[in-house]
């Protein structure tokens, strides 16, 4: 039994990971063939590697990362003289962990300031689910006993301010907003002042969706960051890049360019309850070092969780343990 199988031999662990499995049920439809591939192949040959490549590419892991991954597999197979395809199972799972962990200890817990307000900034391209994620996050933090405030920094998209206000009502927290079209930095400026005044623990800032190749919009984001730094000097604030699980290779470009104007603490991977695998986040971690902090797996207010790489991989390979 390999490391991974051991990891999930405990019932508690499996129960904890169940949610990922549920969320990714349809995901596994494709990945499930991994088991078939390994059990039906007679030997480890090019045809097998091709099939593995297909499985990983179909999960949107990205061509560069997949090629690298397959090469590493080859070298392990060579070194350890692995002959039976089924023995690849552990190697694949181990390597998948390595790919994500890169020998580091990843701590994606929110770094709360010891005193005063902690700002969480949400950025991303259009339609990834920033506002919804903020709503869910606000609920989560509030249930953890924190006082929460929202800043309606998306002053561009029609209806965005009202959307956030509705979330504010659902969660029961104050929303600082100005009229549509106003300067988002000024909204966030006001919100920080207000949060300080009311001794709020966490301020969640929404921003308008922006495609990363729009220079002016990225400059607007620079300004937002400057405002936060100026108003809250010497404090940590978290910036989350919200990425839709259906995103393909463009996710890399998103992470790369957003990273230039904002210090991204982590990714919020949304809509993982569909059939998309969100594998691009593995490529983002592998190529750009950005970890995944949270996952959104449903439409309910409670459907936002800390990302857990073990559970994620369990979700992908669960058929091995059933």
């Amino acid at each position: 039994m390999g490391i991974f199988a051991k990891l999930f031999s405990s019932k508690e662990q499996r129960l904890k990971a169940q949610k990922y499995k549920l969320g990714m049920t349809k995901t596994r439809k494709t990945m499930a063939t991994l088991k078939d591939v390994l059990t039906t192949s007679k030997r480890i040959d090019e045809a097998l590697y091709d099939k593995l490549e297909e499985i990983f590419i179909t999960a949107d892991i990205g061509i560069n990362t997949v090629v690298q991954f397959i090469n590493e597999l080859r070298s392990v197979v060579g070194k350890q003289k692995i002959e039976k395809p089924i023995d690849l199972e552990n190697v694949i799972v181990d390597k998948m962990f390595d790919l994500y962990l890169k020998g580091e200890i990843i701590d994606t817990n929110i770094r709360f300031n010891k005193s005063g307000v902690t700002v969480l900034l949400f950025v991303g391209v259009n339609g990834t689910g920033k506002t919804t994620s903020i709503g869910k996050m606000a609920y989560k933090l509030k249930s953890e006993g924190k006082s929460v405030m929202l800043a309606a920094g998306d002053t561009f998209r029609a209806g965005a301010i009202n959307q956030l206000k509705i979330w504010g009502e659902r969660v029961g927290c104050q929303v600082i907003a100005k009229e549509e079209g106003s300067d988002p930095s000024s909204v966030i400026f006001d919100a920080i002042r207000e949060a300080k005044k009311q001794n709020i623990d966490v301020l969640l800032c929404d921003t308008a969706g922006r495609l990363q190749n729009k220079v002016n919009l990225m400059k607007e984001l620079d300004k937002i960051n400057r405002t936060i730094k100026r108003e809250l000097p010497n404090t940590i604030y978290e910036s989350y890049l919200v990425i839709d699980a259906t995103t393909g290779q463009n996710g890399l470009s998103q992470a790369k360019i957003f990273k230039e104007s904002t210090e991204i603490s982590g990714i919020v991977l949304t809509k993982l309850d569909g059939t998309a695998k969100g594998g691009i986040v593995l490529a983002i971690r592998n190529e750009l070092g950005v970890p995944i902090s949270f996952v959104g797996m449903g439409e309910k207010i409670t459907d936002l969780d800390y990302f857990d790489i073990e559970d994620y991989i369990y979700g992908l390979f669960a058929d091995f343990f059933e």
Binding site: K26, E54, I57, T58, A59, D60, I63, V125, N126, G127, T128, G129, G135, F156, R157, A158, G159, A160, I161, N162, Q163, K165, I166, W167, R170, E180, L211, Q212, N213, K214, V215, N216, D244, A245, T246, T247, G248, Q249, N250, G251, L252, S253, K256, I257, E260, S261, K271, D273, G274, T275, A276, K277, I280, E299
Partner: protein
């Protein structure tokens, strides 16, 4: 990023077979490997890529070489032609109903851009087809979705029919149709809620709305950045609703939009419109032939190669090529390269053909000033820094100094350094390709050249026929 890799690869692949009299199976095989990688990087579905390259390979093998094209160009042409054929060669219009108001139903996943696109489409059809549109707000689930549609409607001066969030969408569309008849609207666009294609309850809702409204068009809104899953989404929506067309949104990003090809190939559904910006006027008829070259990411490689051959001194280009391949490409070389480009004409048109340039290409509006900026940055470096880019990579105070000296931002300086680094890495990658194919490349490509002395087997040096 994707663009540069593809263009470079295609050019590299091209280079190997340019100047040969005959194509053999190996050549085509090599080209197809590049095409395959390019398409995968563009998010074309794995299976679709497989089928496509197999088909093109067969075609290329049987094809006679046309006059005026060399074999390499011939293969590129076949790939491009097939892609265009697959995408459909002409824009497909909306089917208007002659006898009653035309009904269009917008469907798709969450965040694809249905609401914005509903408004854009109404505006487009009013302007170009003199329609009198009504928007129906049937998304009762997402908070403020109705507000959003009403705001869009106000901005465009298009009426919006809504009944709030407490009424069932089936009821809303029924009443909406009555209202449209009363007000003599001849175009009705229904904005439905975003939903996952595996959510049976919500998919049933769409099926019911379809039964009630008998739409002339059911348009699936798809985010151009969608990855491999596009096929699953389009197939599921198509099976449930028999989609009549797609709208590709957010195409103004830097995505290559391979999802368009996947959807087209797997479902046969035409892509009818493309969303190309945040303004409500930014929607266009979808032009398949333009998309083909975008997915391939090669623009007009053929004409560029011709142009480059005319304008650039061959010896100079060769030495530049060698320099690039050696992995010691530095800022002095970049400067030289840019001067060569300058001679070829407008920078912006040519930029995307150069390896490593996608960062600059991502600028909102690439103009020839960029070139001036890059020059200014390089000119602000010390001779040692120009020669040895690592100096800059290691020291932020050096980078800051260069930024100040050139009057550009540190980000821009960093971007330039990153770009050069990428270019170097990429060249190293080419160098590290397996020796066998390199040897073959060398020999093959040299066929039409008269400089065999420069062959340096396995090092990727001095292979002829590459002009840029």
């Amino acid at each position: 990023m994707a663009f540069e890799n593809l263009t470079t690869r295609m050019q590299m692949a091209l280079r190997r077979i340019t100047g040969k009299a005959h194509l053999n199976e190996n050549d085509i095989e090599e080209m197809m490997k590049e095409v395959r990688l390019s398409l995968l990087e563009a998010d074309v579905n794995f299976r679709v890529v497989k089928e496509f390259t197999t088909e093109v390979k067969e075609l290329a093998m049987g094809e006679k070489i046309l006059k005026g094209l060399n074999p390499g160009q011939q293969v590129v042409k076949i790939v491009n032609d097939e892609l265009v054929k697959l995408m459909g060669s002409e824009a497909v219009l909306i089917q208007f109903n002659e006898t009653r108001p035309t009904v269009i139903m917008m469907v798709g996943l969450q965040g694809a851009g249905k609401t914005t696109t509903a408004g854009k489409l109404g505006n487009f059809l009013r302007k170009n087809h003199s329609k009198k549109p009504l928007l129906i707000a049937a998304d009762i689930y997402r908070p403020a979705a109705i507000d959003q549609l009403i705001t869009v409607g106000n901005q465009l001066d298009i009426p919006v029919f809504s009944m709030g969030t407490l009424v069932n969408p089936r009821e809303i569309v029924k009443e909406g149709l009555k209202y449209a008849n009363l007000e003599k609207h001849d175009l009705i666009i229904i904005d439905t809620a975003g939903r996952l294609h595996i959510n049976e309850v919500l998919m049933d809702e769409l099926i019911d709305i379809k039964k009630i409204t008998k739409p002339d068009e059911i348009l699936l809104t798809v985010d151009a950045m969608t990855g491999q899953d596009a096929v699953n989404v389009a197939t599921a929506f198509n099976e449930a609703l028999a989609i009549t067309g797609c709208i590709l949104t957010k195409l103004d990003g830097d995505t290559r939009g391979g999802a368009a090809l996947s959807i087209r190939k797997v479902t046969g559904i035409p892509i009818k419109f493309a969303g190309t910006g945040e303004k409500l006027s930014e929607i266009e008829l979808f032009h398949p032939e333009r998309m083909a070259s975008r997915i391939l990411g090669m623009g007009d490689v053929l004409s560029l190669i011709e142009k480059a051959t005319e304008e650039i001194d061959e010896a100079e280009a060769m030495s530049m090529m060698e320099k690039m391949m050696s992995g010691n490409f530095n800022f002095n070389d970049l400067l030289k390269q840019m001067k060569m480009i300058k001679r070829m004409g407008a920078f912006s048109g040519i930029l995307k053909f150069l390896p490593g340039m996608s960062q600059l290409q991502n600028m909102d509006k690439v103009d020839d000033r960029q070139l001036v900026y890059v020059e200014a940055i390089i000119h602000s470096m010390t001779p040692a820094e120009r020669k040895n880019p690592e100096l800059l990579e290691r020291s932020s105070s050096r980078r800051n100094r260069v930024a100040q000296g050139s009057g550009r931002s540190t980000t821009e300086v960093n971007r330039l350094i990153g770009m050069l680094d990428k270019q170097r890495q990429m060249m190293k990658r080419f160098q590290n390709m397996n020796p066998e194919s390199m040897e073959r490349m060398g020999q093959n490509a040299m066929g039409g050249m008269s400089q065999p002395a420069t062959i340096n087997k396995g090092k990727g040096k001095g292979k002829g026929g590459f002009r840029i």
